[in-house]
Every structure is written in C-alpha cells, then in structure tokens.
C-alpha cells in the first residue's frame, strides 16, 4: 500500500461549534477490498453524514482494505491512517485529511467572549505554506479566506436565522459573477448568484463557512459569524492555471442541484474555443451544437428547439428582444462575442419570468465592463473586424463597455473579377453599448443599447436592408437582504426594407417594421433558504407596420399601399416559488397569467361563421377605433418542476411547462429570410399555445468535472400557423385567408456527456427527436397530406454532436467539432408531366423524403501569446478549417425545368474546405 504525500485544503482555520465532539462517535461498518480512497470516503460519508476534505490527487494511488462492523468512526480513521504520514481531524461534520500537521480544531480562546478577537488574529500561522492559490493572489485570497467576517449588528440573540446577502464580483475587473454557487456544508444550504452576481442566503445564527464556486474561477470560501441580517461582498479571481495548482472541488454542481431542467449555459470562453466559420465566433452556431437544437440549414441561424419553429424562440440580448439574430444571409450571428458574457438556453423549464414564445428562451447576457481600468479587445478576421472598449467612468462605480463589428465584404466583392460579384453588395455592422452605474449599495442602474444593420444586393437586382434597434434601462433596488427588485423599460425595433429599381416602371420600395415598448418588473424574495419566491409583471405594447410599398423614382407606376398597422398589448403577471422541502427534494411551482389585447385602430373582415375563411366568405367589415380592444386572449401558463437528489452527484428531475405566443412569423421559405413578416394575434388569428412534459436524470462523475444527463420530453403545439398552397403573405390585408391552423407534436431523448475541466473539455451529445405537424383545421378543404401527421421541415431524428478542446499547453490548444444529423425532410416529385413547353415535376405528399445526411467536421488551432499576467497587450491567433472533409452537405434539393426537361440539383452552401485565420487582441 503506497501513500503519497498529501497537501491540505486551502482552509486551515476552522469554525468549530461547541457541540462538535459529541457527534464524533458515530459508528460505521465497512467491507472494502483494495478500494480507492474515494470509495472509502463515499462509504463513510453515506453512513455518517460527515464530509471529507482531502486532496484528491494525492489520494488517488491509495488503496484501502478494511473490514469493520459498527466501529466508532474515530477508531476506523485511526486504523486506516495508522502508520501513514496522514493525519486527520474531525470538526463538526467535517473530516480533514492532512499530512505534516494536525489541524487545530479547538476553539480560539475568547471567541465567544465580549472582546472578540479580530479576524486577523485567527489567521493560522501556516498560511504562508499554502501553495494552492494563485501566486499573485495568494496572500490576499488567503487573508480573505481566513478572516472571520462579522455579518450584521452584533447582539446577544442566539438561535433563529439571519440573512447574508451581497455581490460576487470578479476581482480583476469588478464584473459580476453570474451563477456562482454559495454553499454551506454544515446546513447543506446552497444558493446561486443571479445575473447581477447577487445572492441572498439565510442561515442559522452563528459561525459558518461558505464555499464559493464558479466555472472558470478559483474557488474560494468565507468564514462568517452571522449575527443579524447583513452584507458580504466577495471577490473571486479568474482561474489562471499555474503549474502546481491543486484544485479541490466541493461544488455540488449546478446541473445536479438546480430544479431547472433542459437548461444549458455556455460562457463565452467555451464558445470562443469552438471553430467558427471564418473564425467569427458565433454564439448561435455553438448553441446549435447543443442537443435538442437544430436548424434547417447551414446558412440559417434560425434555431429549432425541441421541435419548435424559428419564431418560437425568445432571443434576449440584455433584456432586448432581437427579432433577426443574424447577419449576412444568416452566415453570422448578430452578437459581438467580446460583449457577450454568457448564454443561457432554456428549452424545457422556462422560468416564469419569461414568456411570449413557445419553444425556448435564449438569454444572452452582456458584460458590465471593466470597473477597474480601461481595457479593450478586438479581432481581425478574413471578412470581419471588431473592436470593444471598456472601463470605469468614475471611481469604480460606473463602468461602460462599447463594441462594434463590421465587414469589409463590399471591398472584397468589388475586387473579385467576376461581374456577378462585383455588382453585388454586402455589408453589415453592429454596435452595442452598456453602462452600469452603482448609485449606492442598494441601487444600481444599467443602460443597454444595440444597433445592427445589414445591407445586401445580389448582382445589381433587389436590395435588402434590415436592422435591429434596441435600447433599455434597468434599475435594480435592494429593499433588504431578502428582497430585491428590478424594473426595466425599453424599446425594441426591427425593420427591413426591400427595393428594386431594375425596371423603371415597376421600381418599388417595401418597408416593414416591428416596434415594441416594454416594462418589466421582477421581484425576488427569499424569506429563508427553503423558499425563493419570484414574482413580477410585464407588459409589451406592440406596433407593427406589416408592409408599406411605394414607388421608387418618377417613372414608377407603383401605387402606394400600406397594410393597416397592428397594435397589441401583451401583459403578464407571474409568481413562482422554489421550495426546498428537504435539501434533497426541491419543487419549483410557478404560474404566469398572460393576456393579450388586440387593439385598434383597425378595420377587420368578418367571415361567414363556420365557413372556410376565403375572400368570398367575407360578409362585412368592422371598424375599431384607436385604442379600442378588439379581442382579448387570456390564459394561465404553468411552470412546474421538481428535483430529487439521489446522492450528492446524481439527481432526477421532472417538469411540466405551458406557454403561449401572440406574435407569429409568416414565412414560406425554409430559412429565416429578411422578407419574413411578423403578425400579431387578432380576431381571426388565434395565439399559439404549447406544453411540454419532461423527465431527466443527471449524474456527475469525477468530482463534478464530468456531467452526464438524459432527458426525455413530449411536447404539444396548438394553433401553429401553416400556409395554403400559393399563399401570398406580402401586402395581404386578410392574411387569415392564406393561413391554416396546424397542430404539432414533438418528442425525443437527449443524452449528453460534458467534461467541464481538465486538459480535454467539451461535450458529446446525442439526440433523438421527432417533430410532426398536422393540419387539423376543420375549415380547411384540402389539408396538407390529407390531414395526416407529417414531419416538419426541421425534423431531424438523429443528431450527434462532438465539441471538444484539448489544451496541449497553456498557450496552445486545438478544437474539433464533429456534427452529424439526419438530413431534413423534403418533398420530392413523384411524377412528371408536360405543360407549357416543358416537363414539370408533380409533387405529392409534403416532406416524405429526406436529403442526404449532414456531416461536418471543423478544426482549429488556438495559439495564445505568452501568459505574463502584466503585459501591454495580449494577443492570440486562431487558425482552422471549416468543413475539413469538404463534404458537400446539401442545403436543399430542388427540381427545375430546364430546356424542357426536369433536372434535380443539390445545393450546398459550403462545398469545400474553408480555411480561416483570425487575430485577436486584448489590452
């Protein structure tokens, strides 16, 4: 039996409760033969409820053989550690395994005395020997970790509980750390920080140790003496790997602990490692590699989440609703990677504070900017360049971040010696800015702005222009440690213009826009650690101009036409409670009462009741005055989920969700195009609704660095909009005559294996998913496929994704993507006939065939500059190959009549290997 040297935990000075000795003689029974040390630990932890602290690396070569029946724990430990260099100490329910020295577990004299020792006096002598922390921060971190923080006004009250609350920030730049977990081992209480880095935790009065963990940050801890409600702000430091670091993970991983299911969080670091098209970090394309997310094709950034259509995703960029999240025909996502902090995708348990879309919420949070010094970052790629600046405005209370991206595609196109290209134009840019200001400890203000613009014209013909414009302001107020609220108000706008002046008589301009004004109030109340109550209210006022067409030029005969504007008010009131019945069993129940008012002014067609809605069944029109409510839809949405922990590393979750959607995208192309029209629900167009049941099993291995999960779901969609053959959607005053209601069902299994730490990290996922639609409108004469279920355009039963990154050294890493999915369904001709001078294809049932399977591999190499922490500018290079195998993945298959005969073609967007190189810098 070989033991190697042991290093201890970061923490040496321990908070001891007076009754700790009384519990030390729990008995254990063990039957272990050549067991690993962690098996031994697990066995004891299970039987006694005690928790071990030890260095995993030092112990992994140990093997233990022991046979005992109902022996006191101390005897067992003595026996195991006898004749080794290890020592152990028991404190409360914690067992520390150390070498070299025994931990002092007795009380510091005078601790409960009137003149308390200063926290510094408690600092153990051997702090200097702590090699685990980063060298840079070793001293301060250790000092903070070993200091005893007094929380609240000291008084003589004993017993009962008090609440500690505060912010967790990145010590380097002052930005909030989102989703950090604060965990107290003794009470098994745990909370996580919200999007502001804020947390609130209720604990019994007395001394506690708080363990603080966050992905990509050095774990830390705080000792507190909790007297009354009070504040504790914590700084964490980025995990900068040094060569001899020992990381001890005590984190109960969020994926296991949270009651949420179907939620994936990706931070920008992970996304930046993924090889991207032309090196342009693409938030949406990484999201597409998650299980349960597909898209119709390569050039599309329209997401299909668990069988939902592309318009059923709420894409929020710092609370701003972004309607068209892509640039350049959908090749690039519209978000500047330097401003993005992380991305959360909710595909199953959608928190009750979100609503208005059926399938998912993609919440993109942006960084607050460096609060400590002026900094910048940027990159130069083959097609695009970007620059971001950030810094404090005054004394650390205000910070800003402003970033922009643009493309030099226009310049490139002009230089291509091919008329088709040199007559084409393609340009885009986006700018985003964020200011965060701390008024005082209780009040914070945040300003967010986003502007994107695209303009392209292919071969001198039709030109397209579209733009997202968003601005909002948020005020966060902390009422008390247990209660805080945010109010956010803003404007979101999406508009596009199409125009052509190739033919002077028909020259036209067409415009479309959506405007929404919103106000949201969210309140978080955590009365104690058992309940986390969230409640709020939101309202959105929509104004849509569904289409305006006008003449372009003097000779144009085009008549001005404007489809009536649409107005609507979407409001919701919600309340939800996360109730921890026991630490192992948590339920989350929420209800969101959503209401939609379709409002005037508008003239609406009336149809013969019970007859198909056709232009010939229009019997009358009704005029509604401005502000008058034409129709109100109201329904409760349920958000229920529960989590049961099977062990500290495994849990099972179940959820049920229902949602409603009042704004619909009308598109008869397969991809999201800048010509899609959005439409509000009104008298004739019902809201879409859907619900989902899901069940998941989660298990972590190897100290939570390997996360596995299996989730199954079944989803129903009602009043989904489908189109009649030959529907005309543009400038149509009575769209209800061209659409039909369909219903859908989606079901599937998603399996994921994710490694979050170590040299190799990434994930591999498999998803089986089906999405089927059915035209069930009784008023439709010729339902699609005779009213049978048929596969949706994005129904791809099997998909396997591998996203991996391997670090050879701190400066050199390689990344690999391997993506496979079943080809999407298409409609193939079943016969041909001769008409109007040519053979033409006869199409039968919709989506009964599939295009060939999709397979793509991308590879990239990331080379970082040297890792001196203090340096003027950090630079890195990313070079790689997109579509390494050069496989021509068909985007679509189509049949066209050429010279009298039918020809079938496969169109692939990326028909070859696309190399790229990008230079990134940071200063």
């Amino acid at each position: 039996m070989k033991y190697s040297f042991i290093l201890t935990m970061l923490l040496f000075s321990l908070a001891i409760t007076t009754h700790s000795y009384a519990q030390q003689n729990k008995t254990v029974s063990l039957e272990l033969n050549d067991a690993r040390f962690d098996q031994f630990v697990q066995a004891i932890e299970k039987q006694t409820g005690y928790h071990f602290y030890y260095d995993t690396k030092r112990m992994d070569s140990a093997s233990i053989t022991i046979h005992v029946q109902a022996k006191p724990l101390t005897d067992v430990l003595k026996a195991v550690f006898a004749n080794t260099r290890f020592q152990y100490a028991i404190s409360g329910e914690s067992i520390f395994v150390t070498s070299q020295y025994t931990i002092q577990t007795s009380l510091t004299p005078g601790f409960f005395g009137k003149q308390a020792a200063t926290p510094d006096a408690e600092e153990p002598e051997h702090v200097a020997g702590n090699a685990a922390a980063n060298k840079r921060n070793a001293k301060t971190v250790s000092a903070e970790e070993n200091k005893l923080y007094e929380i609240g006004q000291r008084d003589d009250r004993k017993g009962g509980t008090a609440t500690v609350a505060g912010y967790i920030r990145d010590g380097k730049n002052g930005e909030p750390v989102i989703g950090a977990t604060i965990y107290n081992d003794a009470t098994k209480a745990g909370v996580a920080t919200d999007q502001y880095g804020y947390f609130s935790m209720t604990l019994p009065r007395g001394r506690h140790i708080l363990q603080i963990n966050s992905v990509g940050m050095n774990s830390t801890k705080r000792q507190i003496a909790l007297f009354n409600d009070g504040k504790l702000n914590i700084e964490m430091f980025e995990y900068v790997p040094s060569l001899k670091t020992v990381v001890v993970s005590t984190e109960k991983a969020a994926n296991i602990r949270s009651a949420n299911m179907g939620m994936q969080k990706l931070n920008i670091k992970t996304m930046k490692q993924v090889p991207a098209l032309l090196g342009e970090v693409d938030v949406l394309r990484v999201v597409m590699a998650l299980p349960g997310v597909t898209s119709v094709g390569e050039s599309s950034t329209g997401l299909n989440v668990r069988g939902g259509s592309a318009d059923q995703n709420l894409i929020l960029f710092s609370d701003a609703t972004v309607y068209n999240p892509s640039h350049f025909f959908g090749f690039f996502s519209a978000f500047n990677p330097d401003a993005v902090k992380d991305v959360e995708l909710y595909k199953s348990s959608i928190p009750e504070r979100f609503g208005g879309r059926l399938s998912s919420v993609l919440d993109i949070s942006t960084r607050e900017g460096n609060k400590k010094k002026l900094a910048g970052s940027g990159g130069i790629g083959p097609l695009t360049g970007r620059l971001t600046l950030e810094g404090p405005i005054d004394s650390g209370r205000t910070s800003f971040i402003i970033g922009g991206r643009t493309t030099y595609a226009n310049w490139l196109l002009k230089n291509i010696p091919n008329k088709e290209y040199s007559n084409s134009k393609a340009s885009f840019y986006d700018i985003d800015g964020h200011i965060s200001h701390q008024i005082n400890a209780k009040n914070n203000l945040y300003f967010n702005g986003y502007y994107s613009n695209d303009h392209f014209q292919l071969n001198g013909d039709t030109s397209y222009q579209y733009s997202n414009q968003n601005v909002n302001v948020k005020w966060k107020h902390i009422f008390s440690n247990k209660l805080y609220g945010t109010v956010v108000a803003g404007l979101d706008r999406y508009q596009y213009k199409i125009g052509s002046n190739a033919n002077e008589v028909n020259a036209y301009k067409f415009g479309f826009d959506i405007n929404q004004t919103f106000l949201k109030l969210d309140v978080n109340y955590s009365p104690n650690n058992k309940h986390l109550i969230k409640a709020g209210f939101s309202t959105i006022y929509y104004k849509l101009n569904p289409g305006t067409r006008q003449a372009d030029g003097d000779k144009s005969q085009v008549v001005y036409k404007k489809v009536q504007a649409e107005q609507g008010l979407e409001s919701a009131l919600y309340v939800g409670d996360q109730y921890s019945i026991t630490p192992d069993f948590v339920v989350n129940g929420g209800i969101r009462l959503s209401m939609f008012n379709a409002m005037g002014p508008k003239t609406v067609y009336d149809y013969i009741p019970g007859q198909p809605r056709e232009t010939y069944t229009i019997i009358d029109t009704t005029n509604y005055a401005g502000g008058k409510i034409m129709k109100t839809y109201m329904a409760p949405e349920l958000r229920l989920s529960a989590r049961y922990s099977l062990s500290s590393s495994a849990s099972i979750k179940v959820g049920y969700n229902s949602l409603r959607q009042y704004i619909h995208m009308l598109s008869n192309t397969t991809a999201i195009s800048p010509t899609d029209i959005w439409k509000l629900s009104d008298i004739n167009i019902k809201p879409q609704s859907g619900d989902q049941f899901s069940l998941g099993f989660y298990k972590n291995f190897h100290y939570n660095t390997i996360e596995t999960s299996v989730e199954v779901y079944y989803k129903r969609i009602r009043n989904f909009l489908d189109y009649k053959s030959g529907a005309s959607l543009v400038l149509n005053d009575h769209i209800e005559t061209d659409v039909v209601n369909a219903k859908g069902k989606a079901y599937g299994v998603e399996v994921m294996l994710k490694k979050t730490a170590g040299k190799l990290n990434g994930w591999i996922s498999y998803a089986y998913s089906r999405t089927l639609l059915k035209t069930d409108d009784p008023l439709v004469k010729d339902p699609v496929n005779r009213g049978d279920y048929y596969p949706a355009d994005f129904d791809k039963p099997h998909s396997v994704n591998f996203i991996g990154n391997y670090k050879f050294s701190h400066r050199f890493s390689v990344s690999l993507n391997i993506l496979y999915s079943t080809g999407r369904p298409i409609t193939l001709p079943v016969a041909e006939y001769y008409l109007n001078g040519s053979y033409r294809a006869y199409y039968s049932d919709r989506n009964q065939f599939r295009i060939p399977d999709y397979f793509r591999t991308d590879f990239s190499v990331n080379i970082e500059g040297n890792h001196k922490v203090k340096k003027l500018a950090h630079s890195s290079w990313t070079a790689g190959l997109f579509n390494v195998t050069g496989r021509r993945n068909p985007y679509s298959v189509y049949f066209t009549s050429e010279n009298g005969a039918i020809k079938g073609y496969k169109l692939s967007i990326f028909g070859s290997v696309i190399p790229f190189i990008t230079y990134n810098f940071k200063f």
């Binding site: 032309l278 050039s299 083959p382 097609l383 595609a409 490139l412 291509i416 290209y421 033919n503 028909n506 067409r549 005969q557 085009v558 008549v559 036409k561 008869n668 991809a671 195009s673 053959s725 030959g726 400038l731 010729d782 409609t827 001709p829 079943v830 016969a831 041909e832 006939y833 001769y834 008409l835 109007n836 001078g837 040519s838 033409r840 294809a841 006869y842 199409y843 039968s844 065939f849 021509r888 068909p890 985007y891 679509s892 189509y894 049949f895 066209t896 009549s897 010279n899 039918i902 079938g904 073609y905 496969k906 169109l907 692939s908 967007i909 990326f910 028909g911 070859s912 190399p915 190189i917």
Partner: protein
C-alpha cells in the same frame, strides 16, 4: 509577397462564401402507378380553340409524351350551348371559331378512360394588344422584353409564350457530293442555310397589380447569350399574349415558382397546385392544368446581326476542316491500276455523308486538284442543328 498571399486568402474566403455549389441530384427511383390527366390550352374567344390532353408519367421515363388520344372534349356555356371539339390526333382537340358570348362563362368537359372531368366555369377575358416587343443588347447578350397595357384597366394579369425562329448557316457550302463517286453537287447551298423554330418552354407572367396603370412594362421574356447561334444572322420572335384571371395567375405563378426556381436559399417550398379542373367520377383524383378563357394577340419582331454588338457564336468552334489527299504528299504517285485504293478511301470517307466535302484544293501551279477539304456532317449540314432549309413565309 506576404500582401499578395493575404489578399488572395481574403478573396478566396469571400468567393467561397458566395459560391454555393450545385450538384446534379438523382433521388431514389420513385414510381407511382398514377397517370394523372394533364390539360393544356385555353378557350379562345375569337379564334380557334385548341386543347391538348396528355398523361403524367414517372420521373425519368423517356420517350414521347403520352397523349390522351381517345377523349371526348366539349365546351359548355353557362347560358346553355355546348360545342364539341374535334379529335385531331396526338392528343390535340380543336374547335373552330365559335360564337362565344363574352358576357357568359364557359367550362370544359372531358370524357376519357371511363371517367369524366369538368372544369369550373371561366370568364372570357379580352386581351389588349401588345404595345411592343423590344430588346436591349450589351456585350454579353440580348434581353427581350414585352410591354402591354390596358387603358381600361381590366387586364391586370398577363401571360405570354413565344415562338423563336432564327436563320443560320452551316460551316460552309458544299461543292461536291458522293453518290457512287464524288461528283459536283448541283446546289452547293443545298443545306447551307437553315431556319430553326423553337417554342418557349418557360412560363412568362406579369401583373400590374399594385401599379397605378394597368401596364406590363418591359416584362423580361428571353435572354440570348451573345455566343448563341440564335443571333448569328437574323432572329425573330413571335409573342403570343393571353390574359388571366387572378386565380389563373396564381396557378401559373405557383407553378413557375416550383418548377423553374433557381434553387436560391430563399425559395419557397414546393406546394401542391389547385387546378380548376376536377374529376367528377373520382373526386380525389388530381388533375393537372388550368382552363382559362381569353383572346390571343400576337406580335413579331426581327433582330438582325447588324443591329447587335459583334458577338461570336461558338456553335462551330470545335469543327475541324480536314484535307483528303488523292496522293499522300511525299509519296510517289499512285501507279495506274492502284487508283481503286483512292476510290475505296473516298467511299469510306464520304459515303452516307458522314463527312461532307467543302471543295477541292490545289497544290502550287498544278492544275489538277490535290484533294478535297471536308468536315463532319454536324458542321456541314445545317439541318443537323435542328433547322429546316425551307425559308419561313414570314421571313
């Protein structure tokens, strides 16, 4: 050097991005037993009416169109009256000029194969005259447009098809021919000059919907590449215009979108077409085609090579003019009696017009021809390119 490398990399990336790839795609064989009835034609209010009936077939089937040759076809008026059409063979059914009443509606009734088909009643629309058929030429090719308008504003939906005719020649005229031996050809221009006629194979539509006046202004009809044979000497296009109702226009524009799409990423999904003809015997049986009522107007223009930029047709670019030597140069003259060899060689070269002689040729001052210049039939006989030597009456 570094700069050039970087620059080419940039261009490459941009090029690849825009250069979507198109490959021929052959799906798995799909065969359906169904042979749907295809109805093509329109009820001509002022002239003879023709309908052609055929059947659909499996994708990839070859051979001629399967015409429906034994049908009974008639046109019925909403105010009574029925006109039965004459079977002209090859699926063509005709009706001479008939006393149609523009204020009533008509429908088509077809009885064939034990089933009966009936169209909806359609109005007879009057087509306004074609204002002009025009063209614009640049260094790449010629674009042909049609312009029509209706001052009454009753037309709105226009449909055109056209017949193109073009004059062209073979590579050269032929002075000799082979019968039992090579003899002078009585008419060296026997198959030198041809006229070829093609009918349009695309659906050409325009609507003035959304315009202040009922005008179809310069609706594009045809594009002829400058390298095409069509513009090598003289070209003519005869444009036929009919007018449609809104429903008929929707039918044809949907058909155009789904059958002539260029495969752009924003193209609509193929969808089923709603014909206005139904099978009344088996109501669910699909019928292909759309019956309209209209008058037909025509306009013809000519385009001469002289009016165009200096295009270079590539039709004969691969033709080779070869030499046939009576005596292989550099060898002694063929002794008498061995002339049969030459005759045999001539026979193998020229019999059956596989190669056609342009002319004979001479060496130096030698008055006797040294041999013939010849080229392949494909290059020498203009009829090989689909034309006829008979000049059309309108030319």
């Amino acid at each position: 050097m570094k700069k050039i490398l970087l620059y080419s990399l940039l261009i490459l990336s941009a090029g690849i991005l825009l250069n979507a790839c198109k490959d021929v795609y052959k799906p798995q064989a799909i065969s359906t037993p169904n042979r749907y009835l295809v109805v093509e034609g329109f009820i001509n209010g002022t002239d003879s009416t023709f309908f052609r009936l055929s059947r659909s077939r499996n994708i990839g089937d070859t051979g001629a169109v399967k015409y429906e040759t034994a049908a009974q076809v008639s046109i019925e008026g909403s105010n009574g009256g029925s006109f039965s059409m004459t079977n002209k063979g090859s699926g063509l059914y005709a009706l001479g000029v008939s006393p149609f009443d523009f204020s009533s509606k008509y429908r088509l009734r077809i009885k064939t194969g034990g089933k009966e088909y009936l169209s909806e009643y359609v109005v007879l629309k009057k087509s306004p005259p074609i204002d002009s058929v025009s063209y614009s030429a640049n260094s790449d090719g010629v674009r042909i447009y049609v312009t029509s308008h209706d001052p009454a504003g009753a037309t709105r939906y226009y449909k055109w098809d056209y017949v193109e005719t073009w004059e062209y020649t073979s590579l050269a005229s032929s002075s000799f021919m082979y019968t039992t031996a090579v003899v002078p050809r009585p008419d060296p221009n026997e198959f030198y000059r041809c006229w070829r006629t093609d009918r349009s194979s695309t659906i050409n539509l325009a609507t003035s919907n959304g315009l202040a006046t009922d005008i179809a202004y310069k609706a594009p009809l045809q594009y002829i590449d400058g390298t095409s044979f069509k513009v090598s000497i003289r070209y003519s296009i005869l444009v036929n215009q009919t007018v449609l109702t809104e429903d008929a226009f929707n039918y044809w524009s949907t058909l155009k979108k789904t059958s002539e799409s260029l495969g752009s990423i924003f193209d609509p999904q193929p969808s089923q077409l709603k014909s206005n003809i139904a099978c009344i015997t088996t109501p669910n049986e699909p019928v292909i085609g759309y019956v309209s009522g209209s008058t037909n107007v025509q306009k013809r223009i000519f385009i001469n090579k002289a009016d165009l930029p200096n295009y270079r047709p590539i039709e004969y670019a691969l033709c080779i003019i070869d030499s046939f030597f009576f005596t292989i140069p550099g060898t002694p003259p063929i002794p008498p009696g061995r002339d049969n060899d030459t005759a045999a060689r001539m026979k193998s070269y020229f019999q059956g017009n596989s190669n056609i002689i342009l002319s004979d040729f001479y060496f130096g001052s030698n008055p006797k021809p040294a041999g013939y210049l010849y080229s392949s039939k494909d290059c020498m006989d203009c009829r090989e390119k689909g034309g006829v030597t008979q000049k059309p009456a309108f030319w």
